[in-house]
């Protein structure tokens, strides 16, 4: 699959396009890691700059912009020891990633060869589509106990899909350099 991918870009500015994709994926990974870490802070009642009810409102509605505006958000530590790593495990996001990559691989092998950048972009878009869908569902009045799992699928899918996109592109980049 890898050597069949078209390495030439159709974009007139391939390097800029590549940079934007990398920034997008990197930012996605950062935001979701920070979000999950922030969630554990909220869980431990360590957020001081905002009232607890408002915090719950922000978290259950996946309001990333309001979350970024909180001073507590920028105090969190992103180190592996800092938080509960089990919070980064999501079975349904992993299943989604598996289904998506299988579908993409089948498509690439049997229907049309996808370029490296197309795969990268599709992965990031699919990740964020999970997040958007979760946000749309959370806009409806759903049972409170359902908000956590839905938010988790949305957020962790962004993380998994973006991480895979970064790993995949780095591997292809290194492979091309080695050739």
């Amino acid at each position: 699959m890898l050597n069949k991918l078209k390495l030439l870009s159709l974009s007139p500015y391939p390097q800029l396009y590549q940079l934007i994709l990398w920034l997008w994926a990197g930012l996605s990974v950062f935001i979701i890691i920070a979000f999950v870490r922030f969630l554990s802070l909220a869980d431990e009642n360590n957020v001081t700059s905002i009232h607890f009810d408002e915090l719950i409102q922000i978290l259950t509605q996946l309001d990333v912009i309001s979350m970024l505006a909180l001073p507590d958000f920028w105090q969190i530590s992103l180190s592996a020891e800092a938080g509960n790593t089990a919070m980064f495990l999501g079975g349904y996001s992993a299943i989604s990633l598996l289904i998506f990559t299988t579908g993409l691989y089948t498509y690439h092998k049997n229907i049309e060869a996808l370029s490296r950048r197309q795969v990268f972009m599709l992965l990031i878009c699919a990740g964020w589509a999970h997040f958007l869908l979760a946000k749309c569902i959370l806009l409806f009045s759903i049972p409170v106990k359902l908000t956590g799992p839905i938010a988790a699928v949305g957020a962790l899918s962004v993380l998994y899909f973006s991480l895979l996109a970064l790993i995949f592109d780095s591997y292809l980049c290194l492979r091309r350099k080695a050739l």
């Binding site: 998506f100 498509y107 878009c125 359902l146």
Partner: protein
């Protein structure tokens, strides 16, 4: 009565709360699974739909390119490949092959240049097409040589057609840009009949029939040239 009602409602309520506690985890898992499947369905379905649209466009381009590959770019009549393809598609071969050659074309090219030669080729092709019927086939086989297949029933019709072709070309002179006087162009035509083979579906026998007709038409063309050009010959 009212006591029974209270009891019944109590039982129903307890059942509801029991069902709620049992179905809640299932509903949670179902919602998450539905989310995952929905996103994958939308993305992969979208990709497949896009590929179908792209495939259709690609096929249309290929078809138009295949059509273009059978047309002679200069004269806009069929080329040799196109002619052979159309002949191969024909169910019945019975008819006449006419080989048309522009007389002294080399002299036109040498005296007035290749651009003038190309224009003359275009004029002649247009005039020949106008003289033929819709169902007849005309192709440029290369240089100044055209081949016509006409599904005519008898020899008289073929002779008449070949005479008409010769006359249509020689009747008018051709004005070429950059050349003061109009050019007189004539053609020679060699005609041969194509007899329908009993097993016309057999490719080898079909090729044999056509190649013998071509040989006869070609030798008739040379006879026409030897006899003084601007005429047709049919044995």
């Amino acid at each position: 009565m009212s006591r029974w009602m209270v009891l019944l409602s109590g039982v129903l309520c307890s059942f509801t709360s029991y069902a709620d506690s049992v179905w809640r985890p299932i509903a949670t898992h179902a919602t998450m699974l539905a989310m995952v499947l929905f996103i994958n369905l939308v993305f992969l379905g979208g990709l497949y739909v896009l590929s179908i649209i792209k495939g259709k466009r690609h096929r249309a381009i290929l078809e138009s390119q295949a059509q273009e590959a059978q047309i002679d770019f200069l004269t806009q009549v069929l080329n040799r490949r196109g002619f052979e393809r159309r002949i191969a598609d024909k169910r019945q071969l019975q008819g006449y092959i006419l080989i048309v050659d522009i007389d002294d074309f080399k002299r036109i090219n040498d005296e007035y240049g290749h651009n003038s030669g190309d224009l003359i080729l275009q004029y002649v092709a247009t005039r020949l097409k106008e003289t033929l019927r819709e169902e007849d086939m005309i192709a440029r086989f290369g240089g100044e040589e055209f081949v016509i297949y006409a599904a005519l029933k008898n020899k008289q019709s073929a002779e008449e057609l070949s005479r008409r072709l010769v006359t249509s070309i020689s009747a008018n002179s051709y004005q070429v840009p950059g050349v003061d006087e109009p050019l007189n162009v004539t053609i020679s035509v060699g005609v041969a009949s194509v007899l329908d083979s009993p097993n016309v579906s057999d490719v080898t026998s079909r090729k044999g029939v056509l190649s013998s007709a071509f040989k006869i038409a070609d030798s008739n063309l040379y006879k026409a040239k030897r006899l003084g050009k601007n005429q047709s010959v049919m044995n």
